[in-house]
């Protein structure tokens, strides 16, 4: 019998996360946005609660919550602070996740355990100045020298880049082989000589997360830090990104939910023409439309999380979550701003921040356009049509 309900442990977990978000995350959200600073104090508190390793097995320091648990965390964080959701999301969803998916036993012991426990922070180094949507065009190189590899290049837009202890770096190991066979993933300790931080981005939103340029100059990485099969780095990051996309949908769900909650309250409190504006069709229709998109997204996100946890095909579903989720959240926050009027435009209020924060969801970890390519290429594949990007 089909069961769409959440097990007791997940309900308790959500309650715990909700309390943490309300008491620790929400109060800082405004300040970290304004001050453009990463909330380190929140991260260490999250680590103490085990939140930095929610999806991973307990034997590797995780909480054993799987993707469903991780989506619950992402949704709740997204509801109160997209910056914190981004810091923790990049750490769990792509950095630690790639080691969880493709790491050897020794790598997991050495790196996944501290990441999951939150004693180390992770980042994921794929994007370069000329390699965004076209990720296979990366130029960073890794050349073998005895039992080491020497990495050279520069990564840009790396979330957590400057606060990370460990960064998973994609580098070209054989330019003649291209994406499949020519790219390898490496686990790099950021204390390694030659690793440095270039510029930090000054962003429109998610300002409480840091986005750094990471420069690799003759960075020596031991051979045992090759992550996954040599030459199969492209597969490693695609797998990690697929899973990350589902949780991004969850974070968007939280963001949209926050926009709805604020709109409900404001429209009820705000009186014009002698009545609460909530009683006007133009306003309450917008509220209803937000609720509709949120319910659709909620069922989509958790259906996808269930597919991931039960090891079923999920690549397309994760892309639906990212595409539909980010765009639905955009429509919701936009309506919320309309309902709030000038107040929504004010920097003193959370709607303005939500509006700026949402915009990145359609861009990072694969733009909406890339999600459409993922979906269309999978749809057309059975017909023997290869979709060129």
């Amino acid at each position: 019998m089909m069961d769409f309900s959440f097990a007791k442990e997940y309900q308790l977990f959500r309650r715990m996360v909700r309390e943490f978000c309300e008491s620790e995350v929400r109060p800082l959200a405004k300040a970290i946005d304004r001050e453009h600073r990463v909330p380190h104090e929140t991260i260490s508190k999250a680590a103490k609660l085990g939140l930095m390793g929610v999806p991973f097995p307990q034997e590797y320091g995780g909480m054993g919550g799987g993707e469903i648990g991780y989506c619950i965390l992402a949704e709740e964080l997204g509801r109160v602070c997209s910056s914190t959701a981004t810091v923790i999301g990049a750490h769990i969803g792509i950095a630690a996740m790639s080691i969880h998916l493709d790491g050897t036993e020794a790598q997991k012991r050495k790196y996944l355990v501290p990441l999951a426990q939150g004693t180390a922070i992770g980042a994921f180094g794929l994007t370069e100045a000329q390699a965004g949507s076209d990720a296979a065009a990366i130029k960073t190189t890794a050349v073998r020298d005895g039992n080491q590899f020497v990495l050279n290049g520069a990564k840009v837009f790396i979330t957590n880049g400057d606060i990370a202890d460990v960064i998973v770096v994609m580098a070209v190991t054989d330019p003649s082989l291209g994406a499949y066979g020519g790219i390898t993933a490496f686990i790099v300790e950021t204390g390694t000589p030659g690793f440095s931080i270039g510029s930090l981005e000054n962003k429109m939103g998610i300002r409480g997360s840091s986005t750094a340029e990471c420069v690799l100059q003759d960075v020596r990485v031991p051979r045992e830090n090759v992550l996954g099969q040599f030459g199969a780095g492209f597969l490693t990051f695609m797998k990690s990104l697929d899973i990350g996309r589902a949780s991004l949908g969850a974070a968007c769900l939280g963001g949209a939910q926050a926009a709805l909650e604020a709109s409900i309250q404001w429209a009820k409190a705000r009186e014009q023409f002698g009545v609460p504006i909530a009683t006007k069709q133009s306003v309450y229709f917008m509220v209803a439309d937000m609720a509709v998109e949120i319910e659709a997204l909620r069922s989509l996100v958790y259906r996808t999380a269930w597919l991931i946890d039960t090891h079923q095909p999920h690549v397309m579903e994760a892309a639906y979550c990212k595409l539909f989720g980010s765009e639905a959240a955009g429509r919701c926050i936009n309506k919320a701003m309309l309902i709030h009027g000038a107040l929504g435009y004010s920097r003193d209020y959370e709607i303005e921040r939500g509006w700026r924060d949402q915009r990145i969801a359609e861009i990072y970890e694969g733009t909406s356009e890339i999600q459409r390519i993922v979906i269309a290429s999978n749809l057309f594949r059975p017909y023997g049509v290869r979709i060129p990007t």
């Binding site: 089909m2 769409f4 097990a7 909620r298 069922s299």
Partner: protein, 411 residues
């Protein structure tokens, strides 16, 4: 959480898909052009249990749960939207209220006929002046009074009979129906009546000419002193609106499943066309704009599928209240009927947008009647209107949200 489809459900799904693809799909174009309900096809569907979807197995029905019933409507819609609507009205709006509110005698009298294909059901609620505002209906049900003379002369006792008068608009299945559920205003308020075909005074009026769903018999119904015995009153006097709205909950969820089937068919047609149609030396499927339309459609379809699945699960497990995690969150619907409105609103809009874009993929061909997308575009347009417009769903959703906040929202 476990969203695995059961063996039974899987078997049903396969059976639906087989029958609908083989029998119904090839007739879709003809049904539309002839503008006639597919009477023979509907009879063939009887053996598949399509007329008795919700009737329990003990009563010789198919005994489908809500989720399976949604699979049925989805597959029907993929094959032909008119046939899907005909059977949705029959099952959701006539059989279901009879099962829920009928007396044993009423069920005995009508269920077998409804289930075995002898009697198609119709639902007569709307009137010219009572669409979204259903409670404004003006058809009357007046109690028949026996005169003293009749009583003394020993004429058969007819106390408690009703005389129905008025005009019902847009009655789906109107001219085909063996049994029509008619709503009229009695002394105690709006009341539901089970009215048999050929009851004197029940006249089938104008057959509407419609934009789409042309294979649905959509008629005006005239009630001219239609005499209905009190034993054919469904529920009590004054319960009619409640009965109608409850039935509409299920049928709105069904509209979501129909939207899903319609969108899937539109996508299928567009994918096929984009592979065959060569422009600038390549199939247009190679062009990003076409791929984007296709990808967007697919994402909408899967979001809707998740929503229909979730809501069907709520209905099947008897959750009147939302079972999902953010249940405590503000703005989460507290009521299954609101959830059905959400499905209807999302589905109706998505179906319109998706068929619009899938027609665009076809270019000029999409405007031609030999392409199924032309029909689906017209058919799906109805989903934002029938069984509660999108605007009424918006109202119902907002009303539920603000009810929890102690604020009354009016339409």
């Amino acid at each position: 959480m476990d969203l695995t489809i059961s063996e039974d459900q899987l078997m049903f799904k396969k059976m639906f898909a087989d029958f609908c693809t083989k029998e119904i799909r090839p007739k879709g174009e003809h049904i539309d052009q002839a503008e006639e309900p597919p009477v023979e096809l509907l009879q063939k569907a009887v053996d598949q249990g399509f007329w008795a979807a919700l009737v329990p197995e003990e009563a010789d029905g198919a005994g489908m749960d809500v989720y399976t019933y949604m699979l049925m409507l989805e597959e029907l819609a993929r094959a032909d939207m008119s046939t899907a609507l005909t059977l949705s009205v029959h099952n959701s709006l006539v059989v279901k209220p009879l099962l829920d509110h009928g007396t044993d005698e009423q069920k005995e009298a009508y269920l077998p006929g409804l289930a075995c294909g002898e009697m198609l059901g119709a639902f007569a609620l709307s009137e010219a002046g009572a669409g979204s505002d259903a409670a404004a209906l003006r058809s009357t049900a007046s109690a028949v009074k026996t005169t003293a003379k009749q009583r003394s002369s020993g004429t058969p006792q007819d106390d408690g009979d009703y005389l129905l008068n008025g005009t019902k608009a847009w009655v789906c299945n109107g001219s085909l129906a063996g049994l029509t559920l008619i709503f009229a205003r009695a002394a105690g308020g709006i009341t539901a009546f089970l009215v048999e075909k050929e009851t004197p005074g029940l006249k089938i009026g104008y057959r509407e000419k419609t934009l789409g769903l042309r294979g649905v018999a959509c008629n005006t119904l005239y009630l001219d002193n239609v005499r209905v015995p009190s034993c054919n009153r469904l529920g009590d006097e004054g319960q009619g609106l409640k009965i109608a709205l409850e039935a509409l909950d299920l049928s709105r969820l069904g509209m979501g499943a129909m939207a899903l089937g319609g969108m899937e068919r539109a996508l299928e047609e567009a994918v096929k066309f984009s592979l065959e149609h060569i422009q600038f030396g390549v199939p247009i499927a190679q062009k990003q704009t076409i791929q984007n339309y296709i990808a967007n459609a697919k994402a909408e379809i899967e979001a809707l599928r998740s929503l229909v699945t979730y809501t069907a699960w709520l209905a099947d497990t008897g959750h009147r209240r939302n079972g999902l995690p953010s249940a405590q969150a503000l703005g989460t619907p507290q009521d299954l009927s609101t959830q059905a409105s959400i499905v209807k609103l999302f589905g109706g809009r998505a179906a319109y947008e998706v068929t619009h874009k899938m027609l665009q993929v076809h270019g000029g061909y999409g405007y031609m009647k030999e392409y199924a997308i032309e029909r689906y575009y017209r058919d799906c347009r109805a989903l934002e209107i029938i069984e509660g417009t999108s605007q009424i769903q918006q109202f119902l959703i907002a009303r539920d949200i603000y009810k929890a906040e102690g604020l009354e929202i009016r339409p």
